[in-house]
Symmetry: C2
Subunit: 472 residues, 2 copies
Amino acid sequence: MPYPYKKMTEEDFAYIRSVTSEDRVWVGDEIAREFYRDEMPEYGVFPPELYVEIENRDEVSAIMKYAYENNIPVVCRGAGTGLAGGATCKYGGIMLSVMRMNRIFPVDHKNQTITCEPGALLLDVQAAAAAEGLFYPPDPGEKTASIGGNVITNAGGMKAVRYGLTRDFVRCIEAVLPDGSIMNFSSNVVKNTTGYDIKDLVIGSEGTLCILTQVTLKLLPAPTCSCTLVMPFGSLEECADMVPEVLALPFVPTAIEFLERELIDIVERNLGKLLPVRQGEAVLIVMYDASSRQELDSAVEAAAEAALAHGAIDCCIANTPERAASVWAVRGGILEGMKADSVAQEECDVVVPRACIAEYVKAAKRIALSHGIRVEPCGHCGDGNIHTEMLRGPEMSDEEWKSATHASLTELYALSKKLGGQLSGEHGIGNGRLEFLEEFVGERMIRLYKSIKLAFDDRLILNPGKVIEFNK
Amino acid sequence: MPYPYKKMTEEDFAYIRSVTSEDRVWVGDEIAREFYRDEMPEYGVFPPELYVEIENRDEVSAIMKYAYENNIPVVCRGAGTGLAGGATCKYGGIMLSVMRMNRIFPVDHKNQTITCEPGALLLDVQAAAAAEGLFYPPDPGEKTASIGGNVITNAGGMKAVRYGLTRDFVRCIEAVLPDGSIMNFSSNVVKNTTGYDIKDLVIGSEGTLCILTQVTLKLLPAPTCSCTLVMPFGSLEECADMVPEVLALPFVPTAIEFLERELIDIVERNLGKLLPVRQGEAVLIVMYDASSRQELDSAVEAAAEAALAHGAIDCCIANTPERAASVWAVRGGILEGMKADSVAQEECDVVVPRACIAEYVKAAKRIALSHGIRVEPCGHCGDGNIHTEMLRGPEMSDEEWKSATHASLTELYALSKKLGGQLSGEHGIGNGRLEFLEEFVGERMIRLYKSIKLAFDDRLILNPGKVIEFNK
């Protein structure tokens, strides 16, 4: 068994420097504090023993081979924008940053793909595709995330309704296994039934199975026009009931989001961003992309008609880029607004069947209130992924906040399970949601996860203690 | 180690009868010969020791538990329409048919899904969706395949260009592990980052990791109209070069197929089905689905213009259901036509990057001819999955045919690998392509496949000797 891991020595440091470069290795107190944590310090702050910025896959392979032979944990890190406490050195060891490995290769027009290294930023990949008239649709909120991080966490985002998740755009992966082997999972082909589908297993594995060194992504022709509709409703139920009506239309929407009036007020009050619709207890925001004006007009007309037929108070059509931007600015300002409106936040990222959204949201509020916490559910109505944001009031002590959020989360996860939902829709397990996992998926599934982890990482050196914990 | 497996005894037969029913169990010579093989007897004919038709997941669980404890291999079988020699009892033991477990539950409109048991036929699932105005897009050639077989082999088909593969429509899976545990992989949610993505690993695993007992499938609103274009070209290269041009248009085609004149002649000569286009050495068939007439007209106009601008001799628009049917009848008649035109067939199902289709097809013909075999590549131009059909002439001896196909396949797979392709695009490995796998993916990948197999099936009792072979 790997525990305890080897405590790194000067000899280890020297070896890592020898296979990389003196000026790309930091040890002990030289390591910047930002690398102790991701965007959620609540989910753990851990100092690496060594921090190295690698430049190519051969360096990754050499480091992994050494770590494998010497029982040293390794954690791969991209931009550090994760929300699950995933990219942190829970058991010390090596933090391996891929942020210098950020090349984006020219778009392959014949295959309609783009290949890049894991440290490339999502926004740069999107821009490189757009510069060639193509479109990389996955659109999680954090545009400065690394593309490797997006792939290894299967990032979602608002446009998943129409286009799907990051997974749906990964053609192939080059990765290094814990023993240093360099592997290719699939190739630049549209389909593949050659052996087990390791590519899809690796996507979303949060850096616990292998380290990505290159990804090839599918692109689409860019839509030529888009339009956003805002539909205010008298109640949350009516708003949620509208979702299947929108999805039943023959036009696939790009995004379907919902906002309750309370949350709109928070954004307007704290950030001064105004939603152009004043009515309604809850609003549904629906976006369409299209390849022609006629197609777009047909979709918008059908959706507006359906809204009014199903109880919408109004249907505001934001048909200029400026109007649409004002709507999305409010949606995009939620996290910032809530931060300004509270002294701390905790979140739960459950996904429930779309049919259960209203039931979940109402029950979530009751649960949080019963523990003295204000909760603001918001998010992806089109896919049932409800970011349930808990807000700490100034009156709460640390202890009260901690115990109230823990009690709320326990109940929220149980509620999601009861409704046929899941523990996490897009943020992942990492370190932050680990304690809730076994209760959720059951003992046999945990054993299966462990077997899968061991199939890749028999010495448990890659991002140990994340997703699955052996050290008990 | 599991080998040799236990030879089944009367006691074992009695146990299986006791947990199922007397009238659903056959043993030894009572077992119909059709269950000795799938659609490709070339890939193995193996008698089961016991054949049982199960009715529910508890029976599956009880049988697996018993087989696990007694070292008896189990092979799950659907409709037996596989093309890789997958659903056969290579090491004897139990064949477990799911064909009585064929319930299709009412469409869930709010979640836009349909749930069914694995023995339901694809055509019945498609019809159940259509009856409710919805659409299950995966469309492999064999409509009488079981839906469980489609999921466990990740069936592809012609409409993959627009809609994707079976994988893309599987919301969740209920399955039984080799030790009898009943598991749920994901639930009826649109996205999920809760633990490892076992659902996607299981899809395409060809019955070697678990036995499906229920699947929930995503549906789409049905397109309201469609149109097929036939573009004849003077050469295969021009035809293949048209594919990226079609894909670059802002309208996503449903299907892109190609046919060479020689193959069209075979179908016309043997089946009397005539393609309405007489010109061209190679024709590209492009199909569009749309949600409105305007959208369809825009797509068809753009594609026709692009075709004529890129060297098409003509562009025939099959804009009535009858005309489109006559085109697709020729495409659909390929296998039957080739069977009528030769005394035996062997096939290779490689997938190559779309940019390499013409290069592959030309080289494939040279390779087969150099071994004295006629080859007819055809298939899915839109996704690079080229079914390379080898035809046996009446003059070839068994030995000549066997050695010529083996030599051709070896070179064809090497060619696919060189072009960045894969061994199988949609038919899978099963037993038939097993001997070519290690050469293709390498020794380290085989070890990884073995580790994954063992993570699920540590006693190697589930469909042993398929996809991966331990018995060496």
